[in-house]
């Protein structure tokens, strides 16, 4: 097995170099996020497609507790902010970075807990993924988002762990940026999902 560290390294800066100067991992993460956005866009469209016909919308009105989920959502939204603080702290390598990371992870966990709670309640009302089109589209959409949140949490934990291991093998700026980009993305997706699934019905 070859060690390709040199192979990956960018060519030495040259007067004629015309490459994008952006960090490769960040660029890769952005493209990946672009792809993921398509995926969620279509899941959301699937939900919207059934919203008015077949009373999916009214179903949502009937079963969903906007206020409670709203609270948990705020946890998620604010976690984006705390992550941003963590990054800034890390930039001027202050110890606060670790603290903010912990807070971020905490908030993310709260959101997931909230979702788990919501699911169990719905299922108690025997509203399951296989009951009707509302169940089908609702659980598929929010479920996939939840899954992405969990992945995000894992990434955050890894980042945190690397940070915690201290100065000599420090997490790279780029590495941290990638994780936070992903987390912000998961967050933005929830803005869209929340407005479509929970808030839309107020429009009618």
């Amino acid at each position: 097995m070859h060690n390709h560290s040199t192979a990956v390294a960018p060519p030495p800066p040259h007067p004629l170099d015309s490459n994008l100067k952006m960090n490769r991992n960040i660029m890769g993460m952005l493209l990946f996020i672009g792809s993921e956005s398509m995926f969620f866009l279509l899941l959301i469209l699937a939900y919207v497609n059934f919203h008015n016909q077949y009373g999916t919308g009214s179903m949502a009105a009937w079963h969903l507790d906007v206020f409670k989920t709203g609270m948990f959502s705020i946890a998620l939204f604010s976690s984006s902010f705390t992550l941003w603080l963590a990054e800034k702290a890390h930039a001027k390598n202050s110890g606060m970075a670790i603290v903010w990371m912990l807070v971020t992870i905490g908030l993310g966990a709260v959101f997931i807990a909230g979702q788990a709670l919501e699911y169990t309640e719905l299922i108690k009302e025997n509203l399951t993924i296989s009951r009707d089109l509302f169940g089908t589209t609702f659980f598929t959409l929010t479920g996939f988002h939840g899954f992405h949140v969990i992945v995000g949490l894992i990434l955050l934990c890894v980042a945190l762990w690397v940070m915690a291991r201290g100065k000599e093998h420090e997490i790279t700026e780029a590495g941290l940026t990638c994780v936070s980009l992903y987390w912000h993305f998961v967050d933005v997706v929830w803005v869209a999902v929340f407005s479509v699934v929970y808030l839309w019905r107020f429009v009618q």
């Binding site: 390709h4 040199t6 060519p11 004629l16 493209l31 990946f32 792809s35 398509m38 089109l133």
Partner: protein, 557 residues
């Protein structure tokens, strides 16, 4: 291998793939993260599946050879064409794309490897795993049988209850993820690893088309994955996405699938176009005509191809406006594609043509692709599609663009780059034989299918009644020719193997070509370039030879 540049052996030129010190032993291949090895693996795997797919294609032709024929049962037939289509598109077309892209891109832009070598091997192995998963369904109680676009409700478990359809969906989902990974890898490589002086205006057309192709992959495959998730949930978790009885929508699947499906067909053809754009100039000894416009038209096609998907649904009665918009976009796409055809012709015009096997395939490609494209335009005229959709005319169309287009151009690519990859030339004698057999076989097999469509033969029929005018004769003729076709492939495979051992040593630049990959040894050393070259034009090697004029300025014969 960090210090390979210092290793003595990487200085004395190695002129045969088997002698490359880094590539000794199976393990060096299975564990490789070297873009050249992975590229070769991709293409070899594509071959393996191509042989399977071709065999299935042949089976189709044998079953359809006579009316009311019963070589295989209707269930078997439905599985055969489903697996044939799926294999050819996902396990032959895609890996060929990635194989050529991953092998050539770094060489052509003067990089030492892909941006993410490990991600690169991840992509390959995920593809292998996915492909195997689909073929595993044969053991696990029945292959998928809903056709390669698996329209529900037929693909729901109420109608196809064996697990084959689940394997089909899972397998495509997995390979889809790998494809996106490799797509990302390619974009980053092209945007950040070009040699000094190689501006995006100067990258070889092949690289440019791969760049567009990668964008197509990144943004269209998620649509397929979303659709696959839904059908899987319908089948496994009893959801109702496509179940009309409780308000689900079969049309939703059609929209989602084709939103992926149409970009997919350009994903398949773009590497072919790229190969042609490299081969035709070299064997016409001329600069590619209107390279800038070529690149621009590729961008146009990339964007347009996201806006034509409903042309696969013209017979679904969606109403005037929703259909007509997509007729317009589908017609428009003919214009940039046309620009390519004309530019390739103009490149040959006034050149000094060398009719190598690679060149012959490229020229056949040009005509066959045009025919396929034109039948595509006929579909874009909706009223004609109302007559022709789901008839054998469609089968003729897409085999002209896929076999006569994609495969002919990629075979040309194989003849052209084989010396670079293996260090040895392919046999031109065998090549010429294979070319003529394949051209005759291909056109014989698929041209008559146009007529069958016009005579009202629907596609995907396991047999057809006696006494339909012309059906028996035309099908018989097509089937006979398909034997020639498949024989030509075997000849091709034989040529690949024979030349590997007996082909003459190629040397770095056997075709006297102009792009960077021909600057490396054949096969290239483990890190491609001793020194990363500096690029001043579209044709760096021309500049090396004549000092200047790579972009066609101030050169007089």
């Amino acid at each position: 291998m960090t210090d390979s540049a210092l290793h003595p052996h990487s200085h004395k030129p190695v002129n045969w793939l088997r002698d490359v010190p880094e590539y000794q032993g199976i393990l060096s291949w299975l564990t490789s993260i070297d873009h050249k090895q992975l590229g070769i693996l991709y293409i070899l795997s594509a071959f393996a599946f191509l042989v399977v797919g071709a065999f299935l294609g042949l089976l189709i032709r044998i079953q359809l050879m006579f009316p009311m024929n019963h070589v295989i049962s209707q269930e078997a037939y439905n599985q055969v064409f489903t697996v044939h289509g799926t294999t050819m598109v996902f396990f032959v077309g895609m890996p060929l794309l990635f194989g050529f892209a991953v092998y050539l891109t770094p060489l052509m832009i003067g990089a030492r490897d892909m941006a993410f070598p490990r991600l690169n091997s991840f992509g390959y192995w995920v593809y292998v795993f996915g492909a195997i998963m689909m073929f595993f369904s044969f053991l696990a109680g029945g292959a998928p049988a809903a056709g390669w676009f698996a329209y529900p409700p037929l693909s729901e478990k109420g109608y196809l209850f064996n697990s084959g359809q689940n394997y089909w969906a899972l397998s495509l989902f997995v390979t889809g993820i790998g494809s996106v990974a490799t797509g990302v890898n390619l974009v980053v490589t092209i945007l950040t690893m070009r040699a000094p002086g190689m501006t995006l205006k100067r990258v070889p057309l092949f690289v440019w088309m791969i760049l567009m192709d990668a964008f197509l992959v990144i943004f269209s495959l998620p649509a397929l994955n979303a659709a696959l998730v839904m059908i899987l949930f319908d089948r496994i978790l009893n959801t109702h996405f496509f179940d009309a009885t409780v308000g689900g929508s079969p049309l939703l699947w059609q929209h989602f699938f084709w939103f992926f499906g149409h970009p997919e067909v350009y994903i398949l053809i773009l590497p072919g176009w790229g190969a042609i754009s490299e081969i035709i100039p070299v064997f016409s000894r001329k600069l590619l005509f209107g390279a800038g416009v070529m690149a621009a038209s590729t961008v146009a096609i990339t964007f347009l191809s996201f806006g034509v998907w409903v042309h696969h649904m013209f017979a679904t009665g969606l109403g005037f406006a929703p259909l007509y918009i997509f007729a317009v976009t589908s017609l428009l796409i003919a214009v940039p594609t046309g620009i390519k055809v004309w530019s390739w012709l103009a490149t040959m015009w006034g050149g000094k043509l060398k009719f190598t096997t690679a060149m012959l395939h490229s020229m056949a490609f040009l005509i066959q692709f045009t025919i396929g494209g034109l039948s595509g335009v006929m579909f874009a005229v909706i009223p004609l599609d109302w007559q022709l959709t789901d008839s054998y005319f469609v089968v003729a169309h897409f085999h002209y663009v896929l076999v006569g287009g994609m495969l002919f151009s990629l075979i040309a690519g194989v003849y052209y780059w084989y010396p670079k990859a293996t260090g040895r030339m392919m046999s031109e004698t065998l090549g010429k034989w294979q070319f003529w057999l394949m051209t005759v076989g291909f056109n014989g097999t698929f041209f008559v299918l146009h007529i069958l469509g016009i005579l009202g033969m629907p596609r995907r029929v396991y047999t057809y009644p006696l006494g339909m005018p012309g059906w028996a004769e035309l099908n018989f003729f097509s089937s006979c020719c398909s034997f020639i076709l498949v024989f030509s492939i075997l000849l091709f495979v034989y040529n690949l193997i024979w030349s590997f051992y007996h082909g003459q040593i190629a040397g770095p630049n056997p075709w006297n070509a102009w792009t960077l990959e021909w600057l490396c040894e054949s096969p290239p050393i483990a890190e491609n370039f001793e020194r990363v070259p500096v690029v001043r034009s579209r044709r760096p090697l021309w500049d090396l030879q004549f000092g200047s004029g790579g972009d066609g300025e101030n050169y007089h014969a």
